[in-house]
Amino acid sequence: MNHRITQAFDVCIVGGGIVGTALAASLSSSPFTAHLKVALVEAGNLYSEPEIRPASFSNRVASVTPASMRLLNRIGAWDRIPADRKKAYTQMKVWDASGNGAIAFNAPMTHSASSIGWIIENDWLKSSLAQSLSSSVTVFNSSVVAGIESPAGSGSDWPVISVNSDKGNGPTIQLKSRLLVGADGVNSLVRKYAGIESIGWDYPQKAVAATLEIEGVEGNRNDVAYQRFLPTGPIALLPLAENKSSLVWSASPAIAAKLLSLSAEDFAIFVDVAFRNPIEDLTYLLSRIQPDGSLPKDLDLKAEAVWGQTRLETANTFKIGVPPSNTSLPRVVGVAEKSRAAFPLRFYLSDRYVSDHRVALVGDAAHTVHPLAGQGLNLGLLDVATLTNVIEEGVQAGADIGNIHTLQGYAAERFAPNLGMMMAIDSIGKLFRAESDPVVWARSFGLNLVNTLPGFKNLAMKAASTL
């Protein structure tokens, strides 16, 4: 213990999540930056094996946009993900539960990509990236950052990172680095070291995730992503495999707790109700859930659900809560065992992405966003692409890549777009949680307008997929 060794690096990345590992892999794969000595410090196990059994899918998934896909491809990670673990979706259907707004996006409308995006398990993203790391990256696996300080007296301003190997039980190693990158998430230690403030809030919401068994998908391909805006938050069904989809249901903590307490059979019916029934049905049925997760004996859940669905389809002059035309929603037939979990939803924003402490922040350390549009990870991967670019430029100009003048380019390019995207996501969320009539009417009108004007739809689509 406390045997101290100091190693010098050009770049030290704290946090070996998807974004941090992607940055290390990206730097090590570029001919301009491959010579840089990169350290990657990960508290967990960077090399954990992802699930390969076709019947089993993790409940943590991400929607990867074509822009992110290009980065993963350049790094060499994309081909390491097996074809049956990256599910392309070519259509996106979005509608409003309490208004009649509905919109359908098709991939061919976008200019280049054949898919709107791919649904990929986080575990596979992580492992494909970890496998893509070259020997220029020194991995400090299962290592905890004990502290970060600026060296006293020596005149050098390179941050010194104390790392405890073996989950904090091993010897302490000191790393000093020209550039320190915080990829260590919403409670970033690196951000605290740099004195960068983060502002934001926890949404009064949680995301319930689950892996679902489905049947009756459109065209038997399961390549459509569905999202319905409920007043309590959006519910999304993302394709994973031919008969499997991933669920992300944002709701109040109370509702989330109720949904988790339900039996698997009842939960599957509730998901159907949330997608297919008038909103009052869902509100009513949620209110009948007992504290222990059971339902009263007098309630025939299945019959209630079917009755409501017929009502939505037949006696609904204004098409309130109806999905876009030509949608045949898949039916949920089961929930994968132990796949249900709830995650907090947050909105946090660092007031700067770089500091003159030789620090740059990427991913959730810089910005944590509501996963409403699936953009959190994609924003992080765009950070990686931009920071790689800025470092490449710096290397070509012989710049000190930890210098604030070099890093400023990264902040200048990412801060405003990320802020804009986050504000947009936040306000869309707020917009769809509103239930007052004018707001509902306006958003329905807006969605329908966008849906009927191809130019608008193309623009919205491009914004979402080139991101």
């Binding site: 010098a8 050009d10 001919p31 301009f32 930056t33 491959a34 010579h35 005149g155 050098s156 301003d157 020209r178 403030e197 502002i199 924003l349 007031d351 700067r352 003159d356 430029e393 710096g394 290397v395 070509q396 100009a397 012989g398 710049a399 000190d400 210098n403 604030i404 003048h405 070099t406 802020l419």
Partner: protein, 353 residues
């Protein structure tokens, strides 16, 4: 929402801390009559030397300019020296590996550190020993700069005397000429230090096919025009105070034609072999864009749309001079893109006048 904007404005108003003031060294620049050193100018830079590495200080405009001019140097170096060329295998991260480069008037070492990171073996000289002390100290903070980067408080005349002519693969002197006396002597001394190898002249008939060792020099300065007075003195020094008033003396600015005359005269230096040729292969404007807070290299197309005030060489410009052991007219230029070949033609036609 409000708090986000507060955070942003706090970010903008964030103040940078000043680097620690270093121990100063006694100033003793040579003032002999043949020297190009302007004692008054040297004293002024010496007084401000602690500011060199303050990214928000009076040299911040230079900090911003550095990556742009470095990219220019990298590009011309790769295009005009044997190390580069279309089929040469260049280490993209260290294209100057093994090359000896001199920076005349290195100041705090902004350019030298960058040159060293690209692989060059760098000598930085400055008449101000204070600046040299700052440069040496700053380089010592970066472990990757500990070898092959030497700073000396010496004049270019003294260095020429000490190491002899034809010593460096590349000589850079950026934003310096406008601060020296005897500008013609200065340019000649810089050019004398650039390598040229005589043995190539013995192979004249086949020289197109063999390795052509030659060196180059890159100068940058400010043109003496009404526009440059307006921008670099009236606006930059007096209105916006980006740089301290008195930094520049408009009458000391050098026009591209004058710089070309100095280069032509340097061709006849006694240090040069008989057929030696100094070819101006590229002259390029570089402009500061205050709204974007960055510098940009110019070509005629950007000038007409974005800089209605004048031509692309009206204010700051860079000039690349290649030293060849034979006259350019003996053969065709090695290769050049369309932009630089027009410049070559221009300079040739000027020379013909």
């Amino acid at each position: 929402m409000l708090s986000v904007f507060q955070a942003v404005s706090r970010r903008i108003s964030q103040r940078m801390t000043m680097p620690p003031r270093c121990q100063t060294v006694q100033f003793n620049a040579s003032t002999s009559s043949s020297s190009s050193v302007n004692a008054e100018e040297v004293a002024r830079f010496a007084a401000a030397s602690h500011e060199w590495w303050n990214p928000k200080g009076q040299f911040s405009v230079l900090h911003l300019m550095n990556p742009v001019r470095m990219k220019y140097i990298r590009d011309v170096f790769l295009r005009y020296t044997p190390a580069g060329g279309a089929d040469a295998k260049v280490d993209l991260a260290r294209p100057f590996e093994g090359k000896k480069v001199l920076d005349v008037g290195c100041g705090g070492g902004l350019l030298c550190e960058s040159l060293r990171r690209l692989g060059a073996s760098v000598t930085g000289i400055d008449a101000s020993s204070e600046s040299v002390a700052i440069a040496t100290h700053h380089a010592s903070l970066d472990p990757m700069l500990k070898d092959d980067l030497t700073y000396r408080s010496i004049t270019v005349e003294e260095l020429l005397e000490e190491v002899g002519a034809s010593h460096f693969d590349m000589v850079c002197s950026l934003e310096v000429i406008e601060h020296v006396s005897n500008q013609d002597v200065f340019v000649q001394n810089c050019m004398d230090l650039v390598k040229v190898w005589l043995h190539n002249c013995l192979n004249r008939s086949v020289k197109l096919f063999i390795f052509q060792p030659e060196g180059l020099a890159v100068f940058s300065t400010i043109n003496r025009t009404p526009t440059s007075y307006l921008l670099t003195i009236l606006l930059a020094e007096h209105v916006f105070r980006w740089i301290p008033p008195g930094t520049h003396d408009h009458s000391a600015y050098v026009t591209p034609a004058e710089l070309e005359l100095f280069v032509r005269a340097a061709e006849n230096s006694p240090h040069n072999p008989p057929n030696c040729s100094l070819d101006i292969v590229d002259t390029r404007g570089i402009a500061y864009l205050p709204l974007e807070n960055k510098w940009q290299l110019l070509d005629s197309s950007t000038v007409s749309t974005r800089f209605p005030l004048g031509g692309d060489l009206d204010v700051n410009y860079l000039m690349t001079v290649v030293k060849r052991p034979f006259k350019e007219s003996d053969t065709k230029p090695v290769e050049a893109d369309s932009k630089s070949s027009t410049k070559v033609q221009q300079s040739e036609s000027l020379a013909g006048l």
